[in-house]
C-alpha cells in the first residue's frame, strides 16, 4: 500500500466545551476522491477547516505528503499549505472580475493571462473573464471558484458542500462536470457533504463521520451494504432493526432463521427495506400500516403480529392486498444488541 498523501491522525478540536472533532482519523491516497459524509453538526466542516489550516488543532496530527502541517507544536499557515479549497458559498471576491478572481492566487510575473485563459477554458467559461461575480449564475460562479482554486496548482483539493447552493435540477449535472474536471487533472480531493446520494455517486471512497469521529471508510457500496455500526446504517439510507438471538452460525429472528455467522448471544439484525420481500403468503403474516408512493417504487410500512413495524421497499404493484407476509430476501448484518 502506498503512503497516504494526506494523513490525519487523532484530530481533535474543541469549541468551548463542545467537542467538534473527536480524534478523527482519515487517510487518502494520491489521486483518490473521497466523500466525507455526515449529518450537519457532525464536525465534517471543522475537520476540513483543520486540514486547510483555518482552525488550530487541539490534539492529533495532520500530515501532507509526509510533512507535518499541524500538530501540538507545528502550525503551517494556510497560505503555505498548497491545499486548495472550494467554499460552499464559492467566496468569489465581489470586487474583482472573473479573470482577476482566477488570477488571484497566481504568482506575480510569468504568463498569468495565458494561465487564466487555460483555466477558464477548462471550466468552460472562456470569454467570461470580464464579468463580475454577481453577473453569473450559481453554476457559473461555482466554475469560477473551481478555476480559481486550481490556478495555483494545489497538491490536493477540499470541497465544502460544493453543490448545496445549486438548484436540485442543476446539481446532478454540475456534480458530473466538476467530477470530470477533477478526474482529468488526476487531482486528490475530499468532498464534504451531508447528502448520501451525492456521496455514494460521486466518490471512490466514502468516510462516514458522526459526532466528531470517522466511523467507517470504504467503497460506497461496501459502506452501504456492510455498515460497521448501527449508527452508520441508520444514517446511510433506511434501515430496519430486528431483535434476534445468535447461535454462532445462524440467527433466530421473528422472521425466521437467518444463515449468518455472529458471536452467540442477543443481536440486532439490520435489514435494508429493499432486502425485505412483501408478498401474499410469504414468511410472517403482516398488516399494512401506511404506504408512501414514489412512482418508481414505494415504501410500505407493515406491522408484525407482536407490534414491530418494518419498512419495506417494493416496486409499485397491484398485488399488495389480501393475506400478506414479509420475509428476508437479502443478506442482513448483525450487531450486538445494546445492553439496556
Amino acid at each position: 500500500m502506498n503512503a497516504p498523501l494526506l494523513n490525519v491522525q487523532g484530530a481533535t478540536k474543541r469549541f468551548g466545551k463542545a467537542l467538534a472533532v473527536d480524534g478523527a482519523d482519515l487517510q487518502i491516497e494520491r489521486g483518490r476522491k473521497l466523500a466525507l459524509l455526515g449529518p450537519s453538526g457532525c464536525g465534517k466542516t471543522t475537520l476540513l477547516r483543520l486540514i486547510a489550516g483555518f482552525e488550530y488543532l487541539d490534539d492529533g496530527r495532520i500530515e501532507l505528503d509526509g510533512k507535518v502541517l499541524s500538530d501540538r507544536s507545528t502550525f503551517v499557515a494556510p497560505e503555505k499549505r498548497r491545499i486548495g479549497m472550494l467554499f460552499q458559498d464559492y467566496a468569489l471576491f465581489p470586487h474583482l472580475n472573473v479573470s482577476s478572481n482566477v488570477a488571484f492566487g497566481l504568482a506575480k510575473g510569468g504568463d498569468r493571462k495565458k494561465r487564466v485563459d487555460e483555466l477558464l477554458d477548462l471550466v468552460g467559461l472562456n470569454g467570461m473573464g470580464n464579468r463580475m461575480p454577481h453577473e453569473l449564475s450559481g453554476g457559473e460562479q461555482q466554475r469560477v471558484a473551481l478555476a480559481r482554486t486550481l490556478a495555483p496548482e494545489p497538491i490536493m483539493m477540499l470541497l465544502d458542500e460544493p453543490f448545496s447552493n445549486l438548484d436540485p435540477h442543476l446539481r446532478a449535472r454540475v456534480r458530473f462536470e466538476v467530477r470530470q474536471i477533477i478526474d482529468s487533472l488526476g487531482m486528490t480531493a475530499i468532498f464534504v457533504t451531508h447528502d448520501q446520494e451525492e456521496a455514494l455517486s460521486l466518490a471512490e471512497d466514502v468516510a462516514v463521520m458522526l459526532s466528531g469521529r470517522i466511523l467507517q471508510v470504504g467503497h460506497p457500496e461496501d459502506v452501504y451494504v456492510r455498515p460497521h455500526d448501527r449508527r452508520v446504517a441508520e444514517f446511510l439510507g433506511d434501515a430496519n432493526f430486528l431483535p434476534g438471538t445468535s447461535h454462532g452460525s445462524y440467527i433466530e429472528t421473528l422472521l425466521g432463521r437467518v444463515e449468518t455467522t455472529a458471536p452467540a448471544g442477543d443481536v440486532e439484525l439490520m435489514v435494508r427495506p429493499e432486502d425485505l420481500r412483501l408478498a401474499p403468503g410469504a414468511g410472517q403474516p403482516v398488516q399494512i400500516v401506511s404506504r408512501e408512493y414514489y412512482g418508481h417504487d414505494q415504501m410500505v410500512t407493515v406491522r408484525l403480529g407482536d407490534g414491530l413495524e418494518l419498512r419495506v421497499r417494493t416496486v409499485a404493484g397491484p398485488s399488495i392486498d389480501g393475506e400478506l407476509g414479509v420475509e428476508i430476501a437479502g443478506r442482513p448484518i448483525a450487531y450486538p444488541r445494546p445492553t439496556e
Binding site: E79, H95, G105
Partner: protein, 527 residues
C-alpha cells in the same frame, strides 16, 4: 470558558490586537484622567459635590433631560403613527419635513429662538405696534426645554417609524379577531412592540440633552454643562469643574442603565409579513392631525429657517463682510476631515478584532471605544485641557489635541459604519485568499478593505459632518484664533450679533441636512 476565550484572543493577529488595545486605552484616557484628578482632590472635590448648589444643578439638569425626553416621546409617537399608519394627506411630505429639525444644531436653534423671541427680539419688534409689551420669557428652563425638544424629537420619531413599518400586521389582526377594539389593540399590542424603539430614541434624546452645551448656554439655563464651563472660564476653578464633569458622566451612565433596564426580556418576532395592512382612515380627525403636523413643522423648521434667512438679509443690507465666514468654513472643513480620517483609521483595527475575533477581551475593548458616546463633549474637552496643561504642554492648544478629542467623541459613529461594513464582508472570501497563498496583511488590503470601502466612506462622511457642527470641544480645545463655523455662531449669538451668526448657521444647517436626506432616502428604500 474564560481560558478558551483568552486563547482565542491570543490567536488574533498580534498587531491588530495591540493597535486595538492602544486605541481603546486612548479612548478611556479622558475619563480615567478625570477620575484620578477628582480622586486626588479628595475633600475639596467632595465639598463641591456635596454643595447644595451642586445638588440643585444636578436636579435641574436631570429634570431638563427628563422633561425633554417625555415631551419628545409625546410628540414623536403620534407623529410616527400618523405618518405611517393613517391616510393623513401629504403623508410622504410630512415624513421628510418632520425629520428635518434634526438638521438644525440645537445651538443654532437656540440662536434662532433667542433672536426671534427675546425681549427686543424680532417678534417683539413686529408685535410692539400692536400693543404687546412683553412676550413670555424665552430664557431659562422654558426656552431650553422647548428648543431641545423641538430639535431632538426626531431621534425618537425615526426608530419608532421604522418599527411601525416593520410590525407584522398579523399581531394587530389577531388582537382584533380576539375581540379587542382598535384603541385597545394599539395600547395592548402595538405600543408594547414599539417600546424598544421608543427607549432607544429616548436614550439618544436624554444623552443629547445632558451633553448639550450650546443651546443651554445661549438660553442661559444653568444646567451642568453651562455651570462647568462657567467654573472653568470665569472662576478658573478646575477642581470644581472636574468634579462637576464627573457628576455629569455619572448622570449619563444612569440614563444608559435605565434604557438597558427598560428593554425587558420579550423578543419581538414577525412572521415575515410586513406593514401591508390598510391604513387607518382618519375621517374628520384628519383636520386636527394636519394642524398638529403643520404646527410642529412651523415651529421646529419654518420658524428657525426664516429667522436665519431674515438675519442673513439684514446682514447683507448692512454690508457685513463675510470673509471671516470663509476662514471659519475652511478651518471647520480642515479639522473635520482630519478628525474623520483619524476616526476611521482608529476604527479599523477595533472593527477587525471585534467582528473577526470575538471574545470576552474583544467585547471589553469594544465597550471601551464606545465611552465617547456617553461622554459629553465638554467633559472630554475639559479632561484633555487639564491633561495637556499638566503633562503634555506641547500638545496644549494644538490641532492634534483637538482632533484627538473629536476622535474620542465620535469614534462610535465611525465604528458603527466600519463594523456593519465588515459584517457584510463574507469571511470565506478572506479565507479563500489565504488559501490561495496570500499573507494576512495582503488579504486585508486586497480583499477586506476594498469590500468595506462603501462603509469606510460612509463612516468618514458621518464623522466629518458631525464634527463640523461640534461646539464645546472646539470652543475649549481649538488653537488660539482657530475659528470655526460653530464657534462663529456661538460667539456671535452670545454677543447678540445675530446677523453675523446667520451665514455660518445656514451653512451648518445645510451640512447637517445631508445625512438627514440620506436617512430619509434609505427609509424610503426600505419601505
Amino acid at each position: 470558558m474564560a481560558v478558551i476565550s483568552g486563547a482565542r484572543l491570543a490567536r488574533a493577529p498580534l498587531l491588530t490586537g495591540a493597535l486595538a488595545t492602544l486605541i481603546a486605552a486612548a479612548m478611556l484616557l479622558p475619563l480615567a484622567y478625570l477620575v484620578i484628578r477628582v480622586w486626588g482632590a479628595g475633600q475639596e472635590a467632595w465639598d463641591v459635590i456635596s454643595d447644595s448648589r451642586t445638588i440643585e444643578t444636578l436636579v435641574r439638569t436631570a429634570w431638563l433631560a427628563l422633561t425633554v425626553t417625555v415631551a419628545s416621546v409625546a410628540l414623536a409617537v403620534p407623529l410616527a403613527w400618523l405618518t405611517v399608519r393613517t391616510d393623513l394627506p401629504f403623508r410622504s411630505a410630512w415624513s421628510v419635513l418632520l425629520v428635518l429639525p434634526l438638521a438644525i444644531p440645537s445651538y443654532v436653534g437656540a440662536f434662532a429662538f433667542v433672536s426671534a423671541l427675546a425681549p427686543q427680539g424680532l417678534i417683539q419688534d413686529v408685535l410692539e405696534p400692536l400693543g404687546v409689551d412683553e412676550l413670555p420669557g424665552i430664557y431659562g428652563f422654558r426656552g431650553a426645554w422647548l428648543v431641545l425638544t423641538l430639535f431632538t424629537f426626531p431621534y425618537v420619531l425615526l426608530p419608532v417609524r421604522a418599527t411601525l413599518r416593520g410590525i407584522d400586521p398579523s399581531f394587530a389582526e389577531a388582537s382584533r379577531s380576539l375581540g379587542k377594539s382598535a384603541w385597545s389593540t394599539f395600547f395592548r399590542v402595538t405600543l408594547p412592540q414599539l417600546r424598544p424603539a421608543i427607549a432607544a430614541g429616548a436614550l439618544l434624546v436624554a444623552l443629547y440633552t445632558l451633553s448639550d452645551f450650546g443651546a443651554v448656554s445661549i438660553l442661559r439655563f444653568d444646567s451642568l454643562t453651562r455651570v462647568i464651563y462657567i467654573q472653568y472660564t470665569s472662576a478658573f476653578d478646575r477642581t470644581s469643574a472636574a468634579a462637576l464633569s464627573l457628576l455629569l458622566v455619572a448622570l449619563a451612565m444612569v440614563v444608559v442603565v435605565i434604557e438597558g433596564a427598560t428593554r425587558g426580556r420579550a423578543r419581538y418576532y414577525g412572521s415575515g409579513r410586513r406593514g401591508e395592512a390598510p391604513p387607518v382612515a382618519l375621517g374628520k380627525w384628519r383636520w386636527p392631525a394636519l394642524a398638529f403636523c403643520f404646527a410642529v413643522v412651523a415651529i421646529a423648521l419654518a420658524l428657525p429657517l426664516s429667522v436665519i434667512g431674515y438675519w442673513l438679509v439684514r446682514g447683507f443690507e448692512a454690508g457685513l463682510s463675510w470673509d471671516h465666514v470663509r476662514e471659519a468654513a475652511v478651518n471647520s472643513a480642515y479639522a473635520s476631515s482630519l478628525a474623520a480620517v483619524a476616526a476611521v483609521l482608529a476604527a479599523l483595527p477595533v472593527t477587525v478584532l471585534v467582528v473577526r475575533h470575538r471574545s470576552v477581551g474583544s467585547s471589553l475593548l469594544e465597550k471601551a471605544t464606545y465611552t465617547g458616546f456617553a461622554l459629553p463633549g465638554i467633559v472630554i474637552a475639559l479632561a484633555l485641557v487639564f491633561f495637556a496643561s499638566n503633562y503634555a504642554t506641547v500638545l496644549y492648544q494644538t490641532l492634534a489635541l483637538l482632533v484627538f478629542a473629536y476622535v474620542v467623541r465620535f469614534l462610535p459613529e465611525a465604528l458603527g459604519a466600519t463594523r456593519s461594513a465588515l459584517v457584510q464582508v463574507n469571511p470565506s472570501t478572506e479565507e479563500a485568499a489565504r488559501n490561495l497563498g496570500k499573507r494576512p496583511w495582503e488579504v486585508f488590503s486586497r480583499i477586506t478593505v476594498p469590500q468595506m470601502l462603501p462603509g469606510i466612506s460612509a463612516g468618514w462622511i458621518l464623522v466629518f459632518l458631525t464634527v463640523m457642527k461640534e461646539l464645546p470641544v472646539t470652543l475649549l480645545l481649538a488653537p488660539t484664533d482657530f475659528r470655526t463655523l460653530a464657534t462663529e455662531v456661538w460667539s456671535a449669538s452670545s454677543n447678540a450679533f445675530f446677523a453675523q451668526a446667520a451665514l455660518p448657521a445656514l451653512i451648518l444647517v445645510a451640512i447637517s441636512a445631508i445625512p438627514m436626506f440620506v436617512t430619509v432616502l434609505r427609509e424610503r428604500e426600505a419601505a
